[in-house]
Symmetry: C2
Subunit: 245 residues, 2 copies
DNA sequence: TCACTTAACTTGTTTGAACAACTTTAAGAT
DNA sequence: ATCTTAAAGTTGTTCAAACAAGTTAAGTGA
C-alpha cells in the first residue's frame, strides 16, 4: 500500500523491468505514452523515473528516451544503497537467517565512547553484541549502540529477532538515513572466535560503521558491522555529476 | 558555471552548510524564507534540497523543517556516492597524486574476458594496468578495460595523466552512472609487488569492481580497483525506504 | 491552571503549463 | 542522389497553484 502515486508507479515500473517486460538495453516507452497508462501528470511520472535512475535501473538520455540498463544479480548481496536489516537481506536472498545475542548491557557513555560513536557524553545507551548467521554459518559480528531515550524498552529477546522491526512496527519510529563508512580492518580475537575464522586464512575483514538517524533528526544508532571477508559483497550505483570548478 | 538554477542553489546551500553558516543540528530557514532569497519557485528550491538529502547533508521533517545533519570529514576518503577519478579525489583531499602505467595493451575479448567483464565476445578493448600513489605511497592497483569503439585514441601517455579528463574534455563523452561492487579479496603476488604490501601484515585488500556507462547507455568501462586496506575508506549515505510487502 | 480547539506555519504530493535542449525523421532544395 | 532545412518527438528545467499532512503556538473554554 504505497502512500503516494509516484511511488506506486515507481514500484510498477521497477517490477516490469525486473521481470523483463521491457527489453534489456532498449528504450522504455516514452513519457507521453506512459502518462495515460498511469493516469498521472508528467511530473509525477518523471519523479518515478528519477528514482529508477538513482537505483541504476534506467538511464535517461535527453532527446532520445529512457534506456533500460538493468542487470539481474545472481549472488547474495547486502545493502544496495538502501538501509536494510539483516533479516530483510536474508529473506530477499531467500536464505535462512538467524541471530545470536552475545551481550546486552545498558550503560552511560563516557568521553571515550562519546568520541568514538558520536553520542554525547553522559547519554544513556544500550550496547548489543550480536552474531548473524546465514544457513548456520556466522557471517556478521555486530556491535550496536542505541540511544535509550529514542529506543525505549529494548530487550535481548527483541535483539535476537529484529530490532528494526521493533523500531518501525512497535515504536512506530521512522528510520530515515544512515551515514556509512566502509573500511578493511585486521581480525581481532573476538572476530576469530565468533565468526569462526582462521588468521592463517584471512587476517582481515570488512567493517561498516554507520550513524543512523530517525525522522526527528536524532542520531539514535551507532553500529559497527564486521563482515566475514569471503561472504562480504556490497553493491552500489554511483551517479556522475559535473566536477567542481 | 552551473547550467541549471536548482544546481546553483544546491551548490550555494551546500557551501553554506559546509562552512558552518547554518548551525549544525539545527533547522535551516524554511522554504518560504529561502524562495525570495534565491528568486525561484518552490519546486526549484525543493529540488536543490532533495539533492542535499541524498548527499546526507540535511534531513527533511514534515511539518517541522529541514535539519542540518552535516558532519565534516577529517580523513582522506574516496568516492562519496559519486563517481570520482583518482585525480579529483587527490585534489579534493589536497594531496599530491601520481599515476604509473604498468601495462597498456590492445586486444580482443575472448569468451573468458567477456564473461568476467560484461563486454561482448570479440569486442576490441584497451587493457590498462596502473598504480595510483598518494604522497609517493602506492595505494591503488587498477585494472581497466575500455571499449575501443567508445574511447578511441587512448594512449599510455593519457592514461598516466587522467583518462576521465580525456574522455570528458577531449572526447566530450558524458559519463553517467557506474554500478559498483565492493568485496574483500586475498592479496596476489602482483598486489604485493606494486602496492608494496607484506603478506605477513595484511593478507587481503578491498576490491571495487565497476561497470560504467556513458550517456548513450553504452557500457564503455570495466574496472577492478584493488585498494591498500590500511588506506581504504569508502563513504556512503543510505536512505531508508518502505520495505517491500 | 489545565485541557482542548483552532489557527498558522512547516514540508509532501499532484496537477498543468510553457519553454529549452536534444535527437530523429521527414520534407524540400539543389 | 545528396545535402540542407524544417518539423515532430523526446527528455530537461522552471514556474504557479492547490490541497494534504504534520508540527507548533496561540487562543478559548471550563
Amino acid at each position: 500500500m504505497p502512500k503516494s502515486k509516484y511511488e506506486s508507479i515507481y514500484k510498477d515500473l521497477k517490477l516490469k523491468i525486473e521481470s523483463g517486460e521491457f527489453p534489456q538495453g532498449e528504450l522504455l516507452p516514452s513519457e507521453n505514452s506512459l502518462i495515460p497508462q498511469y493516469e498521472c501528470s508528467r511530473n509525477t511520472l518523471r519523479r518515478a523515473i528519477a528514482r529508477l535512475v538513482t537505483d541504476g535501473y534506467v538511464q535517461t538520455i535527453q532527446g532520445k528516451g529512457v534506456r533500460n540498463i538493468f542487470i539481474p544479480v545472481d549472488q547474495a548481496s547486502f545493502a544496495i544503497g538502501s538501509i536494510e536489516s539483516f533479516k530483510e537481506s536474508a529473506s530477499r536472498n531467500r536464505r535462512a537467517g538467524s541471530t545470536q545475542v552475545l551481550r546486552f548491557v545498558e550503560f552511560t557513555a563516557d568521553s571515550r565512547v562519546a568520541a568514538r560513536t558520536g553520542f554525547s557524553e553522559g547519554a544513556e545507551l544500550y550496547y548489543i553484541q550480536r552474531v548473524h548467521s546465514l544457513d548456520g554459518k556466522p557471517l556478521i559480528l555486530n556491535h550496536n549502540y542505541f540511544l535509550k531515550s529514542a529506543v525505549p524498552g529494548l530487550t535481548a529477546e527483541i535483539a535476537s529477532r529484529s530490532i528494526y522491526e521493533y523500531l518501525e512496527n512497535t515504536l512506530h519510529m521512522t528510520i530515515v538515513n544512515s551515514k556509512r563508512v566502509m573500511t578493511v580492518e585486521k581480525i581481532t580475537q573476538i572476530d576469530e572466535k565468533y565468526l569462526e575464522l582462521d588468521v592463517n586464512d584471512y587476517n582481515c575483514l570488512a567493517v561498516i560503521t554507520s550513524h543512523t538517524y530517525n525522522s526527528d533528526g536524532v542520531m539514535f544508532e551507532f553500529t559497527q558491522s564486521r563482515h566475514r571477508p569471503d561472504y562480504f559483497r556490497f553493491q552500489d550505483n554511483a551517479l556522475r555529476r559535473p566536477a567542481i570548478p
